[in-house]
Symmetry: C2
Subunit: 346 residues, 2 copies
DNA sequence: ATGAAAGCGCTAACAT
DNA sequence: ATGTTAGCGCTTTCAT
């Protein structure tokens, strides 16, 4: 194997099966640069050379080293997705949608959890700005200005958040909230409360404004309770506060909260929807089989993930696109199940 | 800024704010290697030099380039987690646990979805074997031999699967199934069916064997129906098949199936647990609020994620550990809710 | 169409 | 304790 008695090459010494373009070059008798071309831009190389190279690559079980490629080309073929809490079922569909689209484009997904902290979010963003081609920010807690700075040096797409100059895909839940208002008003509800989520959430504010506006159109005002955390057990406090307002219906920041409220209400013997109607937001996993099944705003969340990825990839390929600032708005619709009904008679 | 009229350095030309160790070296008047040391092994450098360097790094807003570091050191500080379906709620806790532990160790998480396909799994593994330090395989569909080959060239920890020579953390659901058997038998059930999941799942077989063995101890035999897919809507077919067996109780491969069965049973007017008892497996999000709330085997899945990461990191740091083959078994327990009850009288 | 050569930013011997 | 010198594996001008 080594007739000259020369020391084995570094590469071979490190690991068997770790062929590099140099190995391929040696085997096929061409220059490494030709191998590189044959593999990444096959059309720039003579057909027979190319085929010889490709055959050798297969033979040697060659796998390109992404680090090396990234180092010299600047592209990493990796996109980061930042979520505020990886265990929130809301993100499941998002992750799936993003992952699918990314995989189809030959890119990898780097998933990061910001734990709902602006500091951690900022820190992570700083650390990885060199190791990814772009970032998708779901539920960013960062101030607009910071976001703008980041977007200036790295392609960014935000989800459910609009920032001047930053591409975004937002789910039109305000419109959905309007639908919910019409639904509730038509059922005779006059007193509706909004169950507030995290104050730092952009969507939270948007939903509240929509509810207030919608109610105002009917000459009615809306109550607001909270803020509450967005986990299920925060629903207990929310339910108690809700009963205190005397509202006959509520719209919640998200389904997690709504499901928690449903449970607490059941514990306290309050009939839903007989005494009070509950409308959630997002239509997460579980919204259709909780008890009673939840009336909620169905968000096309998986689609949002796919669309966000598409936008990002477009940016990467086309600098002109990057200079512009696209916004995509995805529609929601109200899905009526059994947690909403006729307002109780006084 | 550039009094000599010299062309700007390549680095500066590329991007502002993209300082390298060379920039720091220039500013502080030391060699680049010293900068490297000061930053990665502070103790190997004189205190005042180190402090000057660190100050300069902060000043220049320096962020190490992970690609370059990986290329020369061989470490990537990234761990991959492969799941068979990122939208399966079973993985949520796993992802969270892994992410937490990884973050604490300064490592990144690369999440990949194998879409339940052995081919895709193998392909992904091949593609990224250079870009990660190690891999956690949740629900691998790969044959033992392939797994062994992969484990030989890359640190691997499997979850819920035992392969000779490969580190693993498995959740002791067979023991949990035994508990379920005792529970059901003590409620008077004599005819129990197992609702089979994916044949390629190692855990699926283990659970079935446990059920059969457990029943045999009471001189009873067990039925087996399926295999069924693991999504909720596959529960419909499973429920129909179940009714056909005449069993008074079933244990399902996972909660998703169980929840689907519950729904179908309700549609067909079959009372749970009056006419039939249903026991799930995993205790996923939703198992406690479906209707009726599901009796199930509670798996410490988030802990499994953390433990898997710890094992992997140990391997990376300590080659001796890597040569050994550790197995960690995590206990489960039966959580009795309202989907199981007394067997119906004949 | 192909080759030669110069890095990308960092780490790791080896010297001093 | 610090500097020098080679690369890691790949892409990319620039020649030929």
């Amino acid at each position: 194997m080594n007739p000259e008695g020369a020391p084995p090459s570094r590469a071979a010494a490190r690991q068997e099966g770790r062929a590099t373009i140099n190995d391929i070059a040696a085997v096929t008798g061409v220059a490494a640069s030709t191998v590189s071309r044959a593999l990444s831009r096959p059309d720039r190389v003579n057909r027979v050379t190319r085929e010889r190279i490709q055959a050798a690559a297969r033979e040697l079980n060659y796998v390109p080293n992404t680090q090396a490629r990234a180092l010299s080309s600047g592209r990493t073929d990796t996109v980061a997705l930042l979520v505020s809490d990886a265990t929130n079922p809301f993100y499941f569909g998002l992750i799936r949608g993003a992952q699918q689209q990314l995989h189809a484009a030959g890119q990898a997904l780097l998933l990061m959890d910001t734990e709902d902290s602006a500091e951690l979010e900022n820190h992570l963003l700083g650390k990885m700005r060199r190791s990814v081609d772009g970032v998708i920010l779901a539920a960013s807690r960062l101030p607009e200005q910071t976001l703008a700075v980041i977007a200036a040096e790295l392609p960014v797409v935000t989800i459910n958040r609009n920032v001047p100059g930053v591409h975004s895909v937002v789910i039109d839940s305000p419109d959905g909230v309007m639908q919910a208002v019409e639904h509730l008003v038509s059922l005779g509800h006059r007193h509706v409360a909004y169950v507030t989520g995290p104050p730092s959430s952009w969507a939270n504010e948007a939903r509240w404004r929509a509810l207030r506006t919608g109610m105002a159109r009917h000459g009615l005002s809306a109550d607001r309770i909270g803020p509450f955390g967005v986990s299920r057990h925060c629903g207990s406090a929310a339910a108690d506060a809700l009963l205190n307002t005397g509202a006959t219906a509520c719209v919640t920041f998200n389904d997690l909260l709504a499901i928690g409220i449903l449970r607490r209400l059941a514990e306290r013997g309050v009939d839903v929807p007989g005494e009070i109607s509950v409308v959630g937001c997002d239509d997460i996993f579980g919204a259709d089989f909780c008890s009673p099944p939840l009336t909620t705003l169905t968000a096309p969340i998986e689609q949002a993930g796919r669309v966000a990825v598409s936008m990002l990839l477009e940016n990467l390929e086309n600098p002109a696109v990057r200079a512009s600032c696209r916004r995509i708005i995805l529609p929601t619709h109200l899905t009526v199940r059994q947690s909403s009904g006729q307002a109780p008679r006084l």
